[in-house]
Subunit: 417 residues, 2 copies
């Protein structure tokens, strides 16, 4: 005879059982991008929402061959428990790749299950409840989610078209004493903007002067279509030890593999490894060895060159089509690389209200408010140009145009910029 006396009745004769949740989940929501993605599976919707690489561009045969090699010649190792820090062969490859811009040894690499895990591990290692993290305005929403689970408070740093403003950054540091500053300086998510070298030096100077740590997220840096490469802030004098850099294979090889890494120096790597061990012992070994094999036996630069040629044509297509249909007063970015265009519609158009109309027309985007830690500009939206061909992009932007017209009850939008 079971009957419940606790606050969570477990007996079948009373209310259904519910687990009492931890406070840290209060206010942490599922990613709006992922919610949109689940809507998309419904049917014929052209999606500019997620930063989803075009699977046509995956190096399928090379990756298949790498897995086959690993499971043919190194199966005992590939299927066994392994070290939390990551497979030595992959750490070597990651270090070699990073060293083009920033001298790095294999011992300075912690392998992670994508950049997302890297962000989460850093949050767990560094953030106490109530701590402040300074972030870009707007910024990558899943980073905010990862840090929020550690109980941190995110505060946005005002920015112009070159990235965060050094004076504002310094004032916010003095006022809030953040545990770290989180930046995506190269082809930022969501804006696509790249911080110029001069601004990077100014930002580094502020961080060094105030003794503030930097978490530099760099998943898009190699997706450059035009302009000259800019070194990461971590590579500037004095910044190496004070910065944790995140890299990922997701955007330049394949996201489904979930292979990324953190580059750091000193004791912090040990603490990150302790967290990683508790979170999941280590990343899957087969994937790590296969990616290491893929990197050792293929010319990744050549592959990235192919990606960039395709992505450039898609960015061009989207920018051109958008210029035709945006209402007067709207603005958009025209990035030199990465995956995203950022649009400010203005005209009091709340893009989260526009979205249902857009999905009705058969096109999807992410409303910009999702990317703000606070005080969102609700007239903004993010469009990914990497998933679809120029023809599909043209059709999608036409649909977006119809949605804007319907939503705004404006029969004929003026051409923009």
């Amino acid at each position: 005879m079971n009957h419940s006396t606790g606050k969570n009745p477990g007996s079948r004769t009373t209310l259904p059982w519910t687990f009492p949740l931890a406070d840290r989940l209060t206010g942490v929501r599922s990613s709006p991008v992922r919610e949109i993605l689940s809507i998309l599976s419904r049917g014929d919707v052209i999606s500019f929402a997620g930063g989803i690489p075009d699977p046509e561009l995956f190096a399928v045969e090379e990756i298949r061959a790498a897995f086959d090699h690993v499971l043919t010649h190194h199966a005992s190792k590939a299927l066994q428990y392994a070290s939390t820090e990551g497979e030595p062969a992959l750490r070597e490859q990651a270090a070699a790749r990073m060293s083009r811009q920033l001298p790095t040894t294999a011992a300075q690499i912690q392998i992670t299950s994508g950049s997302q895990e890297g962000l989460y591990l850093i949050g767990q290692a560094l953030l106490d409840p109530g701590d402040v993290v300074l972030v870009e305005r707007p910024t990558y929403l899943a980073a905010v989610q990862a840090f929020a689970l550690s109980g941190a408070r995110m505060i946005g740093i005002p920015a112009d078209e070159d990235g965060v403003l050094p004076d504002e950054l310094e004032q916010l540091i003095e006022r809030h004493r953040p545990k770290f500053v989180y930046l995506i300086p190269t082809f930022q998510n969501p804006t696509g903007m790249c911080m110029p070298a001069g601004r990077r030096h100014q930002v580094a100077e502020v961080l060094l002067r105030t003794g503030t740590a930097l978490v530099e997220d760099d998943p898009y840096g190699e997706l450059r279509f035009s302009g000259d490469p800019v070194s990461p802030i971590a590579a500037l004098p004095g910044m190496q030890a004070q910065t944790l850099v995140l890299n990922s294979m997701s955007k330049i090889t394949a996201p489904g593999l979930r292979v990324g890494w953190i580059r750091g120096e000193g004791q912090i790597l040990r603490s990150i490894a302790i967290v990683k061990q508790a979170v999941g012992l280590h990343s899957p070994v087969t994937d790590q060895l296969a990616v290491a094999r893929y990197l050792a036996t293929n010319d990744l630069d050549r592959h990235i060159g192919r990606l960039n040629a395709v992505y450039k044509s898609r960015r061009d297509a989207m920018h051109t089509e958008l210029a035709r249909i945006l209402p007067e007063g709207a603005t958009m970015t025209n990035p030199d690389g990465g995956m995203f265009l950022w649009v400010r519609l203005g005209n009091d158009i709340d893009t989260s209200h526009l979205l249902p109309a857009a999905v009705e027309e058969g096109v999807a985007f992410v409303p910009g408010s999702a990317f703000y830690a606070h005080d969102p500009d609700k007239t903004t939206l993010r469009l990914s140009y990497v998933t679809n061909s120029p023809d599909v992009i043209a059709e999608g932007i036409k649909r977006l145009s119809r949605a804007i017209r319907t939503h705004s009850k404006q029969p004929s939008p003026a051409a923009a910029r």
Copy 2:
């Protein structure tokens, strides 16, 4: 001119930069098992330390074929972003397998990167700092680590050879109001013991009466060599919704794949998915699809039958050899399944002091104190019998015997049980 004024000097002219760590890392240590594993790479040491499957027993060809199939026929999906909850094909396979003991739908399965991630996600979803988790005495140390990162306090439940004592469990629940009770009822880690059906009913009755959640960890249940199968506690009337069950492919297929799952009901799955999304978006897709393919096209029961025949002979070998060498007053378990024998040396032998002598002799184990949330029995140790052949086990136990003699300065240990 960069000079530091913060508490964490970043300038090269002052002390080296150190990151200030989060409080949650205080007292969270690296797993002693993993520390021992790193010692082992030194050379000719026979390890009974980790629960490391024998790689000779991996179904390498079948797993290789599964990966090859996935990357030949489903590469676009395998290499792409995917849902946080897991691949539908794998959730179906997991649900079908669980349903042999407990009716389960695919929607009740959250795929995790091994059981370890499952434990961590549950801790993040349910535990606030200061919350109590009741655990077995001794228990799986990495679960304690995962829960500790959420700020929880672990309290051990007294047990006899049939598992936790229902009366003691109820008293501890009344006193501490734990968020949940964590049990490994079947072939427990570290003791190898299996809770009989009668005790399971008594435990379930206490949990139902007090409205207390159960986290039931079951990675070893299918590794049974003798005796009749016992259903999970989750399968007892009224317990389904109140229990989260953890399963893993690590012990029955291969740990390097990091594929496991949580079985739950209702809203809690949504909260766990939100945490998983922040921790790493989703588990690697190639691995998930390959495991689903492996399960769909192979007879896992037959494979497990082969494993169990081998592991039985190794358990027998270790038990027989240990019986010859244990000092008078020592005891050990003789489990019907799983991976571990648990030894209580008694005789005031602190096994953490014995370990260096053992490694010197060329054999390793895990000192039992690592498995206690508090008040350890320091004379205990855990021995895994699954990694080595009977011959190697015999040699390893001889070495252990020499280490015990050296350590105890007893020239000739009496035979034990």
